[in-house]
Amino acid sequence: MDVRRQHRLRRRLLTAAHFIGLFLAMSIICLPGLWVVLNSFRPTVEIMAKPPVWIPTELNLDHYRAMFGGIGEGGVPVLTYFWNSLVISLTSTVIALLVGMAGGYAFARYRIPGKSAIFVGLMVTRAVPGVALSLPLFILYGRLGIIDTHFGMILVYVALNVPFTIWLIDGFFRQVPKELAEAAEIDGCTRWQAFWKVEFPVARAGIASAGIFAFLTSWNEYALASQLTRSLNSKTMPVGLMDFTSQFTLNWGGMCALAVLMILPALVLTFLVQKHLIAGLTFGGVKG
């Protein structure tokens, strides 16, 4: 049967194309990142070699040593940046979560006049480009004397994250049936107790993932941080990356080492919450 052979051949070709396509796509996704990791272990001479060295001949921890030791290459104070990033990201995440929980709960549970307009209005504040916002904030912060402070950065990042945490948490609370809280109230809870004893524990995983999303945003943010931080007081790691550049040169190896330090926590956290994250986004979005 000619037709059957043709069909079988076509199916095989499709399978092969599918496999090759997937392989290529995954390689393109992974390679740039892996390249960074690899280069963080290679000596600068080898990175810059011409003709290129494809198979690494020597791997060492020099860049990490330089980075943590604060020696050579202008002595970038990585640990201070790491600490600043950590404090600012964590604090702003906790506050954004609390504010977002209140707001998300309101959207999920109450009839609000003009609900979708208010929702889009909140989202729009997030859409304001960082550069455009940083100009007036820079002036305002200058007047208030909170430029280059943890407090100033935390405030900005809370505002940056609140719209999105509201969106996500709204989605998660909607997945918690309203009857659960009602049942709790009939069982003798106050509204407050019903929230903390029933609705919050049920939505907890989702809320955690909203928190991680907020954390990643703060952790990776550059446009605002680059203008509102000046010194060791509050400079975060994305801004710190710039320390590896000077007018005409770039310390690739050192930068790659810092990059790895930045990615690691993000990697771990994202891995932990990926499932909930998708659920929250799609639920909140689809079941408007």
Binding site: E182, A184, D187, G188, C189, V198
Partner: protein, 361 residues
């Protein structure tokens, strides 16, 4: 002691009234079922009694307290929800004991109450599972267990069986009735299923469009429906309704057929009416029709048959309207066969064609 009294209770959503000034007296220990088509206000009424919905007007009393402004937790009620609303993060044991735990009762007392409730509903082997690991019927029982643990004044059931399959529903219906006999607490039960209403209730409250249409025992509402809506809503298959006009002591159907006026009815000459008769009261000749004094005979062609075993449901046409009749001790019937049917006139109803009100005195 907990009777429940509703006085002129109103519910508005904004400007939209959904419950119109209803009055209802429920005695202590009574099993009352609110029934009606969806959107009739029955669930809203239940939720107002529970305190989950604000009362727009009138008063609700539970026992001797007016509870209008009390939050649900202070009304000493418990409720079984349509989707059970079990706390998914707690085990069955924790679910059952939650209300007592919130009330800060001593541990030993909670344990005893939980064990007792689990015993009654045969949940003991499931106590350490989470709701996610239970079947539909088991979840339903946990929901009921959670309700009985705290010995409330009133049980509220909001369509508790509608998520179960047909077989389980019948089984749980019996369990609910048995539970009521055992604990004797007042029960208010909402359903859209008239069979559940008939089988469970001491008294049925039939609602429509936010009004109470009729209150009565199951037999009362079945035998003496106050209007055409109740007549067609209660009973299965629904009552046949045929448009007719009253003409010189008889009923003239659309095609000119005249049927004698059933006894005990008041109708003006020339009044447009609907003639109502249940399938149980139309039977083909020779098939166990009990002899009565008032019998009308009609010939009808059979269009469809539904054999049910002990009886067959016959679909036939009378004066251009499809009617359903019952054949006991059935024999095979061909489609198109013309049979002679007897109509038991003293079991028939007459409703005003405009208002739908019953014309029985």
């Amino acid at each position: 002691m907990a009777q429940v009294v509703l006085q002129d209770v109103v519910k508005n959503y904004g400007a939209l009234p959904v419950v119109h000034a209803i009055n209802l007296d429920i005695a202590h220990g009574e099993f009352v079922v609110l029934v009606g088509p969806s959107g009739c206000g029955k669930s809203t009424t239940l939720r107002m009694i529970a305190g989950l919905e604000e009362i727009s007007g009138g008063r609700v009393r539970i026992g001797d307290r007016v509870v209008n402004d009390l939050p649900p937790r202070d009304r000493n009620i418990s409720m079984v929800f349509q989707n059970y609303a079990l706390y998914p993060h707690m085990t069955v044991r924790e679910n059952l004991g939650f209300s007592l735990y919130i009330a800060k009762r001593p541990k030993a007392e909670i344990e005893r109450a939980v064990d007792q409730a689990a015993e009654i509903l045969s949940l003991t082997p499931l106590l350490d599972r989470k709701p996610g690991q239970l079947s539909g019927g088991q979840r339903q029982r946990v929901a009921m267990g959670r309700a009985i643990v705290r010995h409330p004044d009133v049980f509220l059931f909001d369509e508790p069986l509608s998520n179960l399959d047909a077989k389980l529903r019948t089984q749980m219906r019996v369990e609910i009735k048995r539970l009521h006999q055992k604990v004797g607490t007042t029960i208010i039960y909402v359903t859209h299923d008239q069979i559940e209403a008939m089988t469970l209730a001491d008294r049925i409250v039939i609602m429509r469009d936010g009004h109470i249409v009729q209150i009565g025992t199951p037999l009362e509402v079945f035998e003496r429906p106050v209007n055409a809506f109740v007549a067609t809503f209660i009973g299965s298959p629904p009552m046949n309704l045929l448009p007719a006009t009253v003409r010189s002591g008889g009923l003239r159907l659309a095609d000119g057929t005249v049927i004698p006026l059933p006894p005990g009815l008041t109708a003006r000459e020339g009044q447009a009416v609907q003639f109502g008769v249940r399938a149980d009261n139309i039977m083909p000749e020779g098939h166990s029709m009990p002899p009565t004094a008032h019998m009308a005979l009609v010939e009808m062609p059979v269009t469809l048959t539904e054999p049910l075993g002990t009886e067959t449901l016959l679909f036939a046409t009378l004066a251009g309207t499809e009617v359903q009749a019952k054949m006991l001790n059935p024999r095979p019937v061909r489609t198109g066969e013309v049979l002679r049917f007897g109509i038991a006139l003293d079991k028939c109803h007459l409703f005003d064609a405009d208002t739908g009100a019953s014309l029985r005195v």
